[in-house]
Symmetry: C2
């Protein structure tokens, strides 16, 4: 798929949909009257309602159906936690400064933009049709100075393409070399760029009045709060494993140079699940059987390394059994993610799961599959599904000593035969003084393999050498007066283990934007009109009430209908403006309102109503009770419009200008 | 009301309820395994569900019922906005440092604590019963060094009491004087304290990679985002006034020394409404008529100034007509706030509305009433309802030039007779050069009164004197060659005005905590057991499913019931642990689960179930269909337990240990 199309297959013009979304206040740049602030957006009423519906659906689909433990943790996070998690040291992008203009660029994006521009220019020069690269997360193409229409050597083309395929894998030094090698200059000045520098993406702040330096951050993910509460959650779950926690909340990334609208923002709503599972036994999932027949579109690592973006369509059962997807739990969540996205109105043909390349993964991840949605920006990572292994619980336990682990009584006690080391502390202390503790720790830390080897040394030579960094020469000699090594049996009644974590992590804003592109189309007619065909469940407003005119006879009907719809939990809006009925419906097609009810003079006579469906613009006419019942079943999904249209009488009235009959 | 009691009138022990709430993971200190961070709390599963239900109810009660425009704006806020709004300069508390220990205290809290401790000591010395001060927002009493049991002079007692009554009104210098005058020292060291310094309560941060200094803040309220979007919202509302925007989201305050659990935190969920209303015509509200009979408990400014805390109980109709509550819109919202709080389970006798003292109000407020809830911490401000007048829209419009106002075609054109000034620019320019603009602006800015006076001067003397700060001597002389002042008529077809704002602002965390105290009681019995009697609508979980034992015959029933309850939208949990049924119910009484369904051997035989109600522990037994229908109507509020208990057969089975029959 090279270019983006609307729901109905029309060529997609991003400017058109963005204009509709901003005009209808789905979202708007924050602080616009102050000139705006890049990477920050506000949601207006329809965007806000859409977001609330998506979050509600997420909660039902994951938290309630899967019986997860939802938590709400703070965004403000003291430095110590994020130091341990690795974010203080590793959560950074590489930035390049143009010393002449002071402009700052994200190094990988700059390389990518320049190489793509040159490749495009090359194709233009060769007279080829230009296809948009779509393999990676999208970045808005910036106009760059050196994109003259210029033919490149075939070898150069190949080198550029290989570089682009691996663009997410380079570190700062490598990016600096690429910039030199490919002679990439400041795009607006042509100046030589400063070498790439790491820029930590977390927002720093100072918690409390007494700190002199920043001592905290805004969280970059909701996950850490869930890990830190692991013990309490396990206890709440009555010590039963496996279980999942979940959290919905804002996270923050101080993006170097955010463009791409809602897709790259500095403050964003996330919904994250941390599913804690026993690492032994292959991370099975009890409900995997129910989903194993479901087909997914999978773009694996190997295919990507070969330079291709052609995915495989496989059942998750096949994918797990062949080892392509590592385990059942990961596979189960990939299916649940797909189900969720399809419920929202995602176009199935614009959804794929892409496996992360080894170097591309976050520092904590052991494996990761992204659910990507295709948009005018290319393929967009919208949900990550990572296997974080035992990384987080292990580092926090090591740092704090808190027992972030599961203790399980063994069905059968386990007998272990192992080498045990006895130390004579009475002699060790006087001999090593201040170093005694370090020496003892070094001995305690010896692996079983080393212990076996040392037990032979001890028997043969009467002494052993132990590596003791920081003590004396770094190696310490201990003789058999001080240590004894023996093979003994030990019975373990309780098993202790650190759970592994499977983490499905949803970027709600990216999902919202992608869904809006997927359900958008233009109705041909007098003038082309935008339509957002949201499924009724997620549509911001379900029903528009349209009185034919502002005749006072209609008012009591509007009041009654509003209150009845509210009672059955159907959100509705009244449009009693003086615009024609057709114009009012057109406005609401852009807002994605799936149903409209017209109140006219026939209503006043016999309490009958017309019900209009957004996508077909077809109408039915029936009694108030029948129409309200139909609306309810349409909104809760128990009936489709086709079914309703079949059983209720069609209405062929005018949709445009209405006159009193 | 001097001391706090439980729902059933028992003396309230805060330690008991806090222990239940933390044990059951309603909330927990954040980052506890890292030693915690003061003023930050996480919500566990029940707290999180409770919060989601309260937010849901808020959205229905306000946003949907009142047809408000909900928006979701960013928390990150550039400095310029908060500079204009006044928060950079004025959103501060006064802090005092103990130079010996480095400890930092909030100055007003310290004065308050010391004086209260001395008054208590005095009463002890006089042998009087000590009553807890309850007039103000609560602060945890810290043990202070100088609280020896010591009798005070009557005059001193009076001075302390007067100071405490006005404690919210003092500025930094005044607090410093009080500290000297009353000889208040560092509580742990006895050292003389440094003079109070202002500490801005906003968290600072740096947005983007290029700033060298902090250039942004975390918002201290959601309101500013709503004001900045005023124009777009008015447009979205098709230019129709009045209307309200609303927002639910986190805000932040860098409290100097947060204690008091959930009541004084650094990160908190707010729900705020900005109701925009025409300032002309007395700020009437179209639905005021519907609520004017509702009684409120009002503690007005005058009563407080007299040193009393005895409120008046008045209908809102009376309160508005006598001018006690300034206008209908403010009054309407006070009623809606009360309705909302009562729906949540707030004890009506522990709710009052307190008017802010003049000096106590935020810098933007023209009038303010707080809904306060009585808890073990005293009376707690949970909802503020402020009249922000046109303050915010005016300052932002002045700063940015954006037309944050309403333009309304007048039904009748308005003819205005006014003094107009004509300036001869051709002469003004050459005469004043660089000052010409400032002079012209000064002339344009002249009030009608001054213009009238100057027109007489001009006629008499042939010249006028205009105040021009910064130009020459500060006064500029203009003769009749340069200016002409005439009274003329002007016809205005469009009226422009800046709306006033009525702002109900809800602290969700404070409301949650207060509700939890209000619905808590202890069931007498073998051992006292805590019960949280949440109304079904807000209870975290609605139904607990309890199989008699883990007999395999029960499993299919559990599975079927879980799925049926989910279908009718009733959140439920299964407790199939091996604890006795009585213990399992006791656990869920602490979680506030209103209903329990037992699955026993009779169920297996005839598909009948028992339904237990939390507060009465009474049970009914009926068919599955009947029980599910009853649960649904209990949860959606269409039936009470009393009604259900009357129509379904009572069940007198054992609640404690269950045995197979």
């Amino acid at each position: 798929m090279a270019t983006s199309t609307t729901k109905t297959g029309q060529a997609m013009d991003r400017a058109v949909i963005e204009s509709v979304l901003r005009r209808r206040l789905f979202y708007t740049p924050s602080f616009e009257i102050y000139g705006g602030e890049r990477g920050l957006f506000d949601y207006g009423p329809p965007g806000c309602a859409l977001q609330a519906n998506v979050v509600d659906l997420w909660r039902k689909h994951f938290v309630l159906e899967e019986d997860m433990l939802e938590v709400d943790c703070t965004m403000l996070t003291p430095e110590a936690i994020l130091k341990t998690s690795g974010h203080v040291d590793k959560f950074a992008d590489w930035m390049c400064k143009d010393p002449k203009s002071g402009e700052i660029f994200r190094a990988d994006h700059l390389v990518e933009q320049v190489l793509e521009a040159r490749l495009k220019a090359d194709k233009d020069a060769r007279g080829q049709k230009v296809e948009v690269d779509e393999a990676k997360d999208a970045k808005k193409k910036k106009k760059v100075k050196d994109a003259k229409i210029e033919k490149l050597d075939d070898a150069v083309v190949q080198e550029y393409e290989e570089t682009l395929a691996k663009i997410d894998n380079y570190g700062g030094d490598e990016l600096g070399e690429l910039i030199k090698k490919f002679n990439i200059k400041g795009p607006t000045t042509g100046a030589e760029l400063d070498p790439p520098k790491a820029f930590n993406l977390m927002f720093q702040t100072q918690i409390g009045p007494s700190a002199d330096v920043p001592n905290g951050y805004l969280r970059p993910e909701t996950a850490q709060g869930q890990f830190l509460n692991f013990q309490k959650l396990l206890e709440f779950n009555q010590q039963s494993m496996p279980f999942a926690s979940a959290s919905i909340g804002k996270s923050f990334r101080n993006e170097i140079s955010p463009r791409s609208g809602l897709l790259r923002v500095r403050e964003f709503l996330m919904a994250e699940i941390e599913h804690f599972v026993d690492p032994e036994g292959g991370k099975k999932h009890p409900r995997f059987e129910d989903v194993k027949h479901v087909e997914l579109t999978l773009l694996n690592r190997k295919t990507q390394l070969s330079g291709s973006t052609k995915p495989d369509v496989l059942t998750i059962g096949e994918a797990v059994s062949t080892g392509l997807v590592d385990n059942e739990t990961l596979g189960y969540f990939l299916v649940k993610i797909q189900e969720f996205l399809l419920k929202l109105g995602v176009d199935h043909s614009k959804l794929r799961f892409r496996q992360h390349m080894a170097n591309e993964m976050a520092h904590y991840a052991a494996d990761c599959w992204d659910a990507e949605l295709f948009t005018t920006y290319g393929w967009i990572e919208c949900v990550g599904c990572a296997d974080r292994s035992a990384y987080d619980l292990t580092v926090h336990m090591k740092k704090t000593g808190a027992p972030l682990l599961v203790r399980e009584t063994r069905a059968e006690p386990l007998v272990i035969e192992e080498y045990q080391v006895d130390i004579d502390r009475k002699k060790l202390g006087p001999k090593f003084r201040k170093d005694a503790k370090a020496v003892e720790a070094a001995v305690d830390g010896l692996s079983q393999e080393l212990r076996e080897k040392l037990s032979i040394d001890l028997e043969k030579t009467g002494k052993i050498e132990v590596s003791t960094p920081g003590v004396g020469s770094g190696t310490t000699e201990l003789d058999k007066d001080l240590v004894k090594i023996e093979k003994r049996k030990r019975t373990e009644h309780v098993r202790e283990y650190t759970p592994n974590v499977i983490e499905p992590s949803f970027g709600i804003g990216r999902i919202l934007y992608s869904v809006m592109e997927h359900v958008f189309w233009t109705r041909e007619g007098d003038d082309a009109r935008g339509v957002l065909s949201f499924p009724p469940t997620v549509a911001p407003t379900k029903v528009l009430l349209v009185p034919l005119s502002n005749h006072p006879d209609f008012k009591p009907f509007i009041k009654k209908l509003t209150s009845k719809l509210r009672q059955i939990g159907v959100s509705n809006k009244v449009d009693d403006s003086s615009a024609s009925i057709g114009k009012r419906y057109a406005r609401n097609d852009e807002l994605g309102t799936p149903f409209g009810i017209t109140i006219d003079f026939q209503t006043v006579k016999d309490n009958s109503l017309t019900l209009r469906e957004r996508d077909s613009t077809k109408q039915v006419r029936a009694s108030e009770d029948e129409i309200l019942a139909a609306v309810q079943s349409l909104v809760d999904g128990s009936e489709t419009w086709e079914q309703v249209a079949k059983r209720l009488p069609m209405f062929e009235g005018q949709e445009t200008e209405a006159t009193e009959k």
